[in-house]
């Protein structure tokens, strides 16, 4: 059994899971579809973030930067210039991955590591938020609004539409990103990423170009996050610097991959499936009981339990249960 083969059982279980997701909109209504779409977006960013943290070992606490900029690029192109998001997404990807490269370049070039790198990413994200809050072109704190969807709207052109449309669109994007990351992680680059994550000096002694490999992780991770931001913008219709570039956004997005399991391909998806509904349930419970803050408390408690009781996250445990058996948590697993 080797790290890069996919077992038949993995493929079978993965296909069943995907089939369920594909059929789900037939039986659940708009609310659950939107909730699931939110889960997909959370999973998408989680996959991207995990590529950088879980596989390449760089702790970024500022992914809101890429999420927000991606969102703004797609929204601005659609709203200000009437350009289809079919163009907006590639541009958003290029811009955000470029930003990821810049932040990564500065960080790696100057040897900023660990907690310092994390703080550097926070600083860039917060800097961007404040900048956007004072930049007329993007609407400052006033926000940026997308017009309502026209009655003659054609979703395949405008990439906007009903909850069901977003459901499938974001599902497809997430699936695509997941397969791509799965491919990357199992590729030569993936070996180099994990080598650098485990021990940068030892990896360099084996000829791994750590700087370049790290940069690639940062760029790809940022680009995927930007795409997620673009979907968020189209789906939500309004953008505010605080709600897409804020510190809270960065934190919210990394909770899912950590709960799910760092350095696993499926962890971010599982994490999103746990974290998003839990937050929603806690919110409703808090509201029903009239307890402001109950959801935050429950959210914190869940995280606490996971990190104390199952520090590798939930996926390795579940994978064992499903007999998908990862030898080590770093190994890419089937769905």
């Amino acid at each position: 059994m080797s790290g890069s083969t996919t077992t038949r059982r993995q493929v079978a279980l993965g296909s069943i899971f995907l089939l369920i997701l594909l059929l789900l909109p037939l039986v659940v209504d708009g609310y659950y579809q939107t909730m699931l779409t939110t889960i997909f977006i959370t999973a998408l960013v989680g996959i991207a973030w995990n590529l950088m943290m879980g596989f390449a070992g760089q702790l970024s606490l500022g992914h809101a930067l890429y999420f927000g900029i991606g969102a703004y690029v797609v929204a601005l192109m659609a709203e200000r210039y009437g350009l289809s998001p079919w163009l907006g997404f590639p541009v958003g990807f290029l811009v955000t991955s470029g930003l990821g490269l810049v932040v990564g370049f500065l960080g790696f070039r100057f040897g900023v590591k660990g907690v310092y790198f994390a703080l550097l990413t926070i600083a860039f994200a917060e800097f961007a938020r404040l900048l956007f809050e004072h930049w007329d072109y993007v609407g400052k704190t006033g926000g940026l609004f997308l017009g309502s969807v026209k009655p003659d709207n054609r979703s395949l052109i405008t990439l906007r539409g009903s909850a069901t449309f977003y459901y499938y669109a974001v599902l497809a994007t997430t699936l695509f990103a997941w397969l791509w990351c799965g491919y990357l992680v199992r590729s030569r680059l993936g070996y180099f990423w994990r080598a650098v994550r485990d021990d940068e000096d030892a990896a360099r002694a084996l000829g791994v170009r750590a700087f370049r490999v790290n940069l690639l992780a940062a760029g790809i991770s940022a680009g995927i996050t930007g795409i997620a931001g673009g979907w968020f913008a189209l789906m939500n219709g309004n953008l505010f610097p605080e709600s897409v570039l804020g510190m809270r956004v960065s934190i919210d997005f990394i909770i899912a991959p950590i709960v799910g399991g760092l350095g696993t391909l499926c962890g971010p998806i599982l994490g999103a499936l746990i974290v998003v509904p839990l937050n929603e349930i806690a919110k409703e419970a808090g509201q029903a009981l009239g307890l402001n803050g109950l959801n935050i408390l429950l959210y914190g408690t869940l995280l606490f339990i996971v990190i104390v009781a199952a520090p590798d996250g939930c996926w390795p445990w579940l994978a064992n249960r499903l007999a998908l058996a990862g030898r080590s948590s770093s190994k890419p697993d089937g769905p």
Binding site: D29, G30, V149, G161, A163, N236, G237, N238, N292
Partner: protein
Amino acid sequence: MTESKFYSTTRRNLLMAGASGLIGSGLPMPAVLRAQTSALKVGVILPLSGVLSFPGIATQRGTDLAVRMFGDEGVKLEVSYADTESKPENGRLAAEKLIRDGATILIGAWDSGATISAAQAAEAAKVPLVVNVGSAPQITEQGFTQLFRNFPPSSEIVAKGVALFKDLPRGNGFDPKSAVVLHVNDTFGQATGGAVKAVFEKLGLGINILDVISYDARARDLSIEVAKAKATGADLVLPITRVNDAILIVREMIKQDYNPMAIYGPSSPGPYEKAFTDALGKFADEYMTSVPWYDPTTEIAKKVLARWAKDQPNDRFELNSGFGWESIQVVADAFTRAKSTKSEDLHAALKATNIKDHPMAGGPIAFDAKGQNTNIAIPLLQNQKGAPVVIAPAAAAGAKVKLPMTKWADRA
């Protein structure tokens, strides 16, 4: 898109058929009759937690009061709330949740961002959304067909308010030549701050705006902002605030002994709140605002205030509770006329809304092509003896304006 709508409507029909079938089998009541007498399910989206929960909860109190009052008159409304946690992006999910739970009409979402977010979902599901509070001009500019706003855009509040301010008698030490704008840098504050500067220039008040100072929405310390304002030496301070920053500003002005001729917040929510007057006591007096307000001279306002005093003796009936109340009035009125709980019937009824008797000052509640009620009056308010009173226009005035402001040091 068409496809998905097909799914969702079929599903809803299926569900309803199932539900009525169930009732039909259990009760000897015809399904049709049952539908006619059933309560209207109203979904209300508000920021009930997070930074905006303060006004959100005030709006909820007004909404609840109206539900009780209309319930007494036999209008059966079943209200459920969804919390946005003060995050604009949660509006959509909140709306969809309420629609799932059976709401055929929505009210919300207090804050402009969440309102637009919710409107996307309402638009997709063809469920009318009555905006209770939300002053961003963009709300009615997005082409939403399901949206009805019974709240003026900030530019209009400012324009109408400043026009009244312009006519205030000058002299006796009140003859402002210059002003400084201090505004919170969030969606609302930024739009309003810009409007204030524009309106002052357009109306030709002869008052020069020396500086526009914006401060962070989360700022806890406004000493530098006030120092900067004081350094301009402006005769007028125009703060665009919510309640706590208004308190901070006044406290700082006292500490820094900054005594302008007047403090006037056009379209600034907060200074009329009980929290403001309680916190500042005598220092809260003579602070002016212009916001939509209830008209205490009308019968319905007296009725509402009387019931409020009974139900909520510790809270003040103000703008948020007022528009919360009216949002239910608008819905109840549409429901009564439509005699249906179906979204499309309610939508048609809302289009024809024309409510003459309502507590907030202004002409009849009616919606134009964009879904905007343009008949809302904006009075000028001034805090006097610990509570806000209308001082202009003269017809609605409950007291005379007191200007220039008493110096802080003289308020022993």
